[in-house]
Structures are given as C-alpha cells and as structure tokens.
Amino acid sequence: MNTTTDSAGLASREFWLRHRDDLRAGSLATAQALGGGSHETTPGAPTTARAPLTSATRAHLDRVTGGEPLLRWTAVAAATGLVLRRFGAEGAVTLLAGAPLEHGLPALLRPDPAATFRQWLGSVRSLAAQILEHGDVDAGTHRGLLEEDIVLTVGVDGPDTGGPTAEAAASLRLGTAEVTVTSRLLPAARLSALATGVATVLEQGLADPGRRLADLGVLDEPTRHQVLTAFNETAPLDNSRPYRELLLAQAAQRPDAVAIHDGTDTFTYRQLCSHATAVALNLRAAGVGRESQVALVAQRSAWFLVMAVGVLFAGGVYVPLDPTMPAGRRDRLMRGAQVVVAGPEVELPQDLDAPRLLPEHLRKEAESTPGPHAPETVAQLLGPPAAPTDLAYIIFTSGSTGTPKGAGVEHHSFLNLLATRVPDYGLRPGVEVPQTAPLTFDLSIWQMFAGLTAGSTVCVVPDDVVRDPAALAAMAVEHRFGCLALVPTFVAVLLEHFEAAPDSAAAVRSTLGRLIATGEPLSGELARRWHTVMPGVELLNAYGPAEVADDSTGGPVTADEGMYTSIGKVLPNVRVHVLDADLQPVPPGVTGQVYIGGESVGRGYVGQPAMTAGAFLPDPFATEPGRRMYRTGDLGRWRTDGSVELLGRADNQVKLRGRRVELGEIEHAVESHPQVARAIVELLKDDGLERLVAFVTPTPGNAPTDRQIQEFVAGRLPAYMVPNEVLTLDELPRNRNGKVDRAALRARAAERTVPTAAYTAPRTSLEADLCELWATVLKLERVGVTDDFFALGGDSITGIRIVQAAGRRGIELRPRHLLEHRTVQELAAVARRRPAGTTGRRTAPRPGTGTDSSPAPLTPAQRSFFARRVPRPDYWNHGVLYAVRRPVTTDEAERAVHLLAGRHPMLRARIDSVDGALAQTVSDVPPPLTEFDLRDVAADELESRMHASATRLHAALDLRAGPVCRAGLLRLPEGQHDRLVMVVHHAVVDLYSWNVITEDLSTILRDGGTEALDPVGTPYTEWARRLVEFVRDEPERLNTEYWLTRDWSRCVPVTDAGSPGTEGNTREHTSTFDEDFTRRFVEGTARRGLTVYESLLAAVGAGFREWLGVPAGDLLVQLGGHGREDLFDDVDLSRTVGFFNTAYPFALPMPTDPSDVRQARAVAELVRNIPGRGIDHDLLRHLHPDPALRARIAAIPAPQVLFNYWGEPGYLHADGDGGDGDGEGRTPGPLADVRIDISGDDRPADMPRSHPIEIYPSIVDGRLRILWRFSGEVCAAPRRSALVASCAEALRAAVADASPRPTSEETTR
C-alpha cells in the first residue's frame, strides 16, 4: 500500500471510493453475521476454532486450484461469503483480504443464490483480480473504506503468513488440512460454526460445482442432524381419536362431573353431551355438514362453549366472532358461514343468505329434549365424526394489510394441540381450567376444548374478573385453578398485584400449579420477578401462531434466562426449523426465521389462496413428500438444548443507519432494567427525524428516569440501539386480546413534538445563555441543548436575530453557525465569549454613519428591479404606519426620524446614473417629515384619509434627487393616538429592515437619543462593493455549473398570457388559518424534519398540480430569501437597512400527494441544494464579469409564480420593545399597532406586475396567513378561488387529521 499518490494510485483511489459505500455496508453486514453487532466486544484472549478438510475436499481443492495461492484464496473467500449469508447477511458482505493478496484490502462479496458454485468461484476470482489491480491505494483512502471494527480477514496459509493481524477482529485461514478461525472478540461457538461452515461449503461445493448456492448448506452432518432431526424428535403422541369420541368417553365415565361452568350456569358432562348433540342436530337440520362454517356471534359463557362443542359434534367448522366488533368487519367475516348463531341483539347484514339460529332458542330446544341424548346414541344420531383432514375451526387474525385473515385449522392439528396440552398443563379430572382469553384469540381454543377431553372442569372467567388482578387471584384460589394462561402484559399486571398484596400471592402460590405465558415475548426480567414473588408456581412459556394450531413450542422458564427467555422445545408431532434467506438451516445460536411444519400446520387462510400460498410453503425437511411448512415471520434461534429463543418479528426489524436492528432486542434490554415492567420500542421513521422511542411501564413503586434507562441500555447494546427517547406510561395500551397495541403507542409518540420530546438541560453557562436566547427569540418556554434549531421553528432570519442578541451578551457567533450547528450543544462549541472588559457592544467593522459618500455599485437585488424598466421607478415603495402611544411634538418626531436616518445611510441614499451605469451615493439630507391634520375627520373616513395622506408621501419619492424616505405625522381626533407613517423606496429597504427601523425609531422616541441602540454594522454600500469584489476575485466560489445545467423542460406553464398585467388590476385573496391548525402544521412540519417554508412550498406545489390538472411536472416558481447571506467574516448585516432580497427561479416538482412526506422531503432536498441559498444565482446573473455568462443565466425562463415566505415578521408584533425581544426588560417604546394595509398605495396602478401570481405566506400572531396577489387580467375569479382552495386543501392533507378553517377575503386594489 502506498502512502504517496501517483497517477496509478489515483485510479485506485477512484476505484475504492466508488465502492466505499457498498464496502461499508458490507462490513456492517459481516459484523452482524459474526454476532458482533450486539455482543460484548471487549477483547479477550484469542480463541481458535478448527474444522478439518476431508481428504476428498483437499483433493478437489488441489485439482481446482493447482495449489495456486490466489486460487485457494478465491475458494476460501467464496465459501466464507456464503457462510456469512447463512448467518444472516442477506446482501453483500465485506471481507479483508489476507495473504496472498495485498494485506488488508477489502473485498466485497455478493453471493447470488441462483449462481452455481462454479460461477460463484469465477466471480470471486475476478474480484481478486480487481483487488490486485488496485492495490496501490493510499492509507487515508484505505482507512475510510470500512465502517465497523469487527472485520474478518480471510487468507491462505503460506510460508510467509503469520497470525491474525492486529486490526482484524477475526482471522480465517485456509491451511492445507483445515480451516482455522481466530478471534479475540467473537464467541467461540460462532467461530466454530464459521470454520465448520467454510469447510462444509468447500466440501459440498467442490464435490459438485454445478450446485446452486441456494442448495449449499453450511452445517456439518452432526449439526444438521441436531437441528433438523434431534431437536424435532418428540415423545410419541396420539392425535387420531376424534374430538367427539374423546368427549363422549369422558361423559360416559363421569356423567355427573361438572364439565363447564360460569358465574351463572353449570353443565355436567352428561348435560354437555346431550345439549351439544341437540345443538348439532339443529345445525344439521339447518344444513351443516363437513366443512360447513358455523359463525358463533355471542359473548363468552358456559352455554357458548356448549354450542361450540355442538358445532364440532355436527362436523361443522367452529368460527367464533366477537359480537362487539364493528358490524362492517363482522359482516365480512360471516360471508362464508353456512349458519349464523347470534342473539337478537346482534344486527346481521340484510343480504345474509345463511340461516340464523338464536342461542336461547337452541338452549330451550336442548333442555326440552325428552330424555338426554346418551353418549352411546350420539354416533347413531349424528353419523361418523369429523375426519382428521376436515376443518375444525377458523380464527381470524388481523392482517398487516388490514384485511382479517381467517386461519383454518384441521381436526388432526386441533387434536394434536389438545393432546399436548393435557399432560403439559396437568389437565385431569378434578382440575379447574380457567377460560380467560377472548374467543377470537387462538389461546381460547385449548382453554375451551382441551380440559373437556381430560375430564377437567372448564371455568369461563368473566371479562371483568380477567381484567382485575385481585379478583382473578381470588377466583384462582376459590376454584383452585390448576393453571392460568395469560399474555405477558397481563402477567406483569398480575405480578404487580402480588407484589402489593403478599397475602393474595401466598394464597395463589398454595393452589396454582403453573402459569402459562403466551401470545407475546416473555422477558427474562418478568420471569425473574415471577420466580421471586411466586416461588413454587411453575412458569411456562408457549409459542405458536394461530395458523399452526396455536402452540408449537412450550416449556418451563427459569429465573435465570438472560435477556431472552426460552419459548420451550418443540411440541410432539410438530417440527420447528430456523432457516436463513435460502431456507437453509442455521446452527444453534445463529438467528434465522422460524418455520413450523408437522401435524400442526393449518390448512391456510380460508378464501385467500394467494395469501395462503405466500405463507405456507413446501417443507424440504418433511419425512413425507408434499408437506407444507408455515413461515411465522418470527426471528428465533436454537439453544444447544433444543429449546428456542424468540427474538421478535422479522418485520419488526428495522434499518437504522445501515444496520439491521431488531426492536425486540432493544425491548429485551430495556426490560432487563430492574425497575422496568414492560417495554416496547418503536422506530418512528415517518417523522423525518428517525428516533427510537421506548415506551416503558415501571415496576410498582419505581420511577426510573429516562437517563437511567438509557445508560442501562447503553451498557448492554451498541450506542446506535439505545433509545433516543423514553416515555414512561402507567400502562401500555392493549388490544382486545390483551396484547400491546403498538399502533396506539406509535400514535401517542407521534403526537409529541420533537422539541419537548427529549429535553436536555444546559450544562455550562454558555449553553444556558444560548438556550435562553433561543427561547426568547423563538418564543418558547424552554429550549434543551439537543433541540434542533429548525425543528423549533427557527429559520435564517431568526438565526440573524439570535446572533444579534448573542452579541449583546458578549457571545460571538456568525449567522451561518446557526445553520451549520443546529443544536445549542453544537453551537456552544463554536461560540466564543468575548473576554471580560470588552463587554461593550459589538464593534462594527466599518463605521455605520454617513461617512461613505462616494458612489457605490448597485446590488443584484437593486439591479433586478431596475432591469424591469418600469415606467415610474421612483414609485415602488414600502410603507408602515405606527400608532404613537404618547403625545409627541412635531420637532420631536422630526428629530427622531433624523436620528434614525443618521444611523441608516440608505434612508438618505440617491440612485443615479454615473458614467453610464446606475450607482448609489449617500447624501447628508435627512428624510423630510410632513404633518397631516386629520383631527376633524369623521371616524368612518379616518382610515381612508390616513391612507390617502400616506399615498401622497409615496408618490413624492425621488431616487435621483431624493428623498427616498419620507415620514408623515398624522394628527388624529381627540382620544386617538397620533400616527407616524414611514414611507421608504423598496430599492433601499426590505422586510427585515423594518424590524430594525421599528426598533430603532421606537427606542429613539422613548429615550430621545440612540445611546441604548447597538451600533449599526456594515453599511449597505460597503456590502454592494464587497459583492462586486467577491464575484470578480473569487468567481469559483459560485456554483455556475448548477445554474447552467438545470432542466426547466418539465415546467408546466401556468398561463399563456403574455403580460402579467398591472398592479392596479391586482386581486388579493388572504387565507388565514386558525391557531390550532397553524400549530399542528408547524409542529407536524418540524416532526417531518422540514421547515415551514419547505412544507408550504410542497403543499403549494401539490395545490398547483391539482389546479393545473396535470398528472405530474414541475412548477417554475421564483423563490426569494432575505439575502443577508453570511459570505464575509468581517461583515455584519444584522442591523443594516437596505434591499438585500434574493430572487431566483426554481423548478418545483409538484407533489402528486400532498400528504406524502417523501415527496415533501424531496422538495425540501431540492431547496436545500440550491447553491448559496439563491445568492449565487443573483451574483452570477447581475455581477459576473463575463457578459455571456450573465446572459445565459438571464435566459432561464421567467417564472410566472412568485413565492416568498415572510416568516414571522418581527416588526408586526412590535410593541416598542425592539420587536425581537432582547430579554433585557427595557421599558417599551411608544410605537404600537403596526399597520401596513392603510399605509398608502406603495406603487402606482399602472405599474406592470412582475408575475401573474404572487404568493406571500407568513405567520402573524400564531396564525398562518397566505396573501395571494393575482393579476386580474390573467386570472379570472373562479380560477383564482379554485387555486386558493386547492392549495388550502393540499395544506390540510399535509397536516394529518387537520381541517383548515381559513377565512378568505378578496380585495381589489
């Protein structure tokens, strides 16, 4: 490896950089496949695992490679890549090349399961050649190629190779007679499996190179036998006796024993047998036979159970439906029913063909049978019982698509389940079996039916008792329940009760034989607590999806299980497989997907062939041909004793910064915290900012803090798996089956906004000051040091204000720092406190008063205005009207305006032609003040007279001769504050400037002087000169390429009108959204990682698309920014009055779905990629020395739509305290009630408009307001309303569940 870079090195560098991302991803995959992702990775003593090569393999190797070290490397690398795939790396993996290749170069292997082993060897050989060719890579490039510290070096033993290299976490070597793997980091079992896997692949692959990779296993024969056969060898169990016979046998043996009871009814075995037969006869009469579905729509009760047995007696299919489920859903599930049994209170669909039987009616008929149907007569009455392959029941499970899936189970599976439960749960005569689960939950199946085959008594426990742990415990004692089956969430609730009520716990301990946890993963910590609180009561775990007759594994759980508890061993006649992506078995300890075969495999999803075919697949390990196995979608791994650990759902696996993360693993780690009862972890992704959120319930009497839990988890898992946020809840929301309702949790987390989500208090005084500044400027109660500036609603304007306020406190910052370091924590690292003693105000780089009187060039903003060549350029102004809250004399007002203009030279500017080009100079003449006497004006005319007075000032500005600014003092009738109107030509002022003018003017009127004001920084004329120098001296800093390569061809024309019309024919619409909507919009935007500006732009784009009626396309829109860009370190524009705005074209891709966050993000991404936030465009277009280049930029098509987000204009809130609230508690100045609507006509009616459609959104007083300015000539009224409505609709869609309540008004100028 070279450390210098020559031309060959450059080519290599390019090669490696091109593959860098893939190599990094591959190194992550390798590390995870090796088990390094979440294991303890403290280096220990080196461990070596060896796997011998058979003599046949050695011979094949010699034949294929001819002993050539490079070819031997090819073979071992190829085998290793496949083994890593078997260990869970589904895509590409990265190995480090060892001898004989350049040591330490990464090799990216992507095994294709469809390739033959021979083809695969060929691919790896080409790869080796590439690595050799690009071996001369510099050290810096090389270092950047890998992501993980767990790397696997693969090499071939030769005369010059030593032991494992220092940097390699694991080293695999092919010797002449064996494969060895050495590591200080990885578990010994994994090393051994790896060595064996490589040897096995070499053996199989070389023996038959035509085999496809998908058919090559990595298990040696003993391991393969262990996982496929030994772990699935179970005690013999007979499931051949039909259910009816089993029950009749019990009835014959113990007719008077209680079979079923609830709080109200009791049925003996004799009664059960007779009534079930009567029910069956009724069903038969209604047409029920084999495979006929009987929908039972009723609450759980003893009689319900009798009817269910009756369905099975009749040979029908038992289909329990919850009477309380939404009718629409229930009706769909009833479609396949032959008969519906439902009480009169249940409303059935009108068009239901199936006959309806009433439970009460069935009961009356059963009880009025003259003599009971004796067991021995049943066969005669009902004929032969159901056959093993007949369908027994259907349980509906919720599908991920929202369509319920009916899992059908045949009798042989059903009987097998019951047969396993009888011995395991100690079901026998005299034992009471509590039936607690809802009927629609598959746990209810054995709870209802198993005990009856063993002569036990089934006790139907009412719902209110199930939900009340104290009542449930009391009932367990009273009825001496032998077992109790609950989901872990309920187990936790029950344990809390026991911990709080030791007497109840003791009573239950003396009666209850075992507790069965099922339906959800059981945490090790919960198991430990159970054994602590309930010693002597066996804790069993049971696992199995409804699709395969509920339970497939089961077994005891000890107090010392580690993070994952065992779900037990394989149940009799069931087969469990843990397989990789190619359906190959994985060795114990390696995570794979759990598949279930054998007797328990259900028929499939009734009426859903495609879904069935997707979930039930050929079982390659079955002893009989043609069998199927079920893909559970659960991740699991074998323990070496043949029990299984469940790690969570395969679809619960998320990608977090390139790593596969199993949420269940994090949940287990959180639950290992002794103060945590239950934990659910979700990755909230759609919120823009990816964050792991842990929802926890504490154990009784505890209240772990977020930090404690995070630190605890950090000690067990890699940093990237530590939840970003911990939400402690009193209880977790549950669905009807008692399982945790993840959707409800996600919704709850989504309601929370990012700012309050993870408050981290400041730790230093600098952080504390910055937090306070942010909170003041952003108008928030508090700000944490990790809160994101944009997520809090910050933008570049507020950034400037923060810089300004920070300066007052002696903290030095640049505006760009806010954009680059978006949290207080990061900002504090770049901020500097000025040393004590220099606490004075920020020193201006250049004096800010009228010393600069030489002509200065115009800025791009000014040039773009003059380039429009409007007929009356002198008349294009801004006007603002203030109420003056105390009496002022004319002299006072005049003096204040003079002081103001003394600070801000541009208010005294002149713009004229100098040497053939426009230039600006600053005069010494202050703006004139005119007094208007409106004291006798009638109230209803007052506003129009004020407006008219201001208009007179507007019409009297003169760029060449001056003034460019006029003030008016409006004397109003008695009892009203006088008004001060300020009129300034737009070429010397912009929106931001008004914040400065308002604050300064108000302070001057309060104090009579400018002492309290911060000095003004860089003069505008200085900025204008600097821009020209900048473009001349450093044109390479501008992104010319970007602007010359934009594709404008997708832009859809908005109108084909040639001229955008005149200002006088402008039609304005204002949409105002209420505070609630605005708040949701702003918060939702922040959660999605977008700024308000970006969100608005995306919504407007979607609104335009709808309005234009096009399927897709771009909208050519002119965007604008405040333009006070942070280009020069010695320039401070935070208090400069002038015209800075940028204006540049943008091809806005119009989103097809305004609620699609991805499309909004794509828009945001494009906006963020505009070089220099638009100023590059303006500088290139107006200031670049090359006229040809300027012309090319100017030739970009002219947008017909202008979009300019005003943000939250500070001056509009001004109550005289300076607008931006410096938090220093100064007395407010006298200016208030800022109005711009009656501040005069700021432009002439005949002025040509720049765009047919102008859009100015802003947020004023917490309300989102969108000002639409349409050209009356171009856009007819219905089209205008349609566009406003369409964009409002798009905004509504962008805010989930929010309906805008805009009030719209139209005015004609």
Partner: protein, 59 residues
C-alpha cells in the same frame, strides 16, 4: 429473487425460490416471476384452498 409457482398432490399451491431444488412431492406449474407476480398467478389458478382429498367429499 425469482420464484416459481409449485403444487403438490393435494393441489395445494405455493411458491418456491427458483434457485433451489424443489422438495419431493411438489411439481412446478411452469409459472415463474417475482413474488408478487407468482402470488397474483396463484390467485387466478387456485380458487379453493381445500385439499383435493377433502374438497370433492365435502362439496
């Protein structure tokens, strides 16, 4: 990954990775494609999920 639509003697349909050897008792139907394409195909050819040995007796 490419799948192929397979069927057993009970006329139960399923999907199998084309790259892998098909287990005993199953035969290919000749239809291959993406997982979704195969499932769509199954939906058109397999209308009753009852095994062959059950279906005629019950209907």
């Amino acid at each position: 990954m490419t799948y192929t639509v397979v069927v057993n003697d009970e006329e139960q349909y399923s999907l199998w990775p084309e790259a892998k050897t098909l287990p005993a008792g199953w035969r290919t139907t000749g239809f291959s494609g993406s997982r979704e394409e195969c499932l769509d195909h199954v939906a058109t050819v397999w209308t009753d999920i009852r095994p062959k040995s059950v279906a005629p007796a019950a209907s």
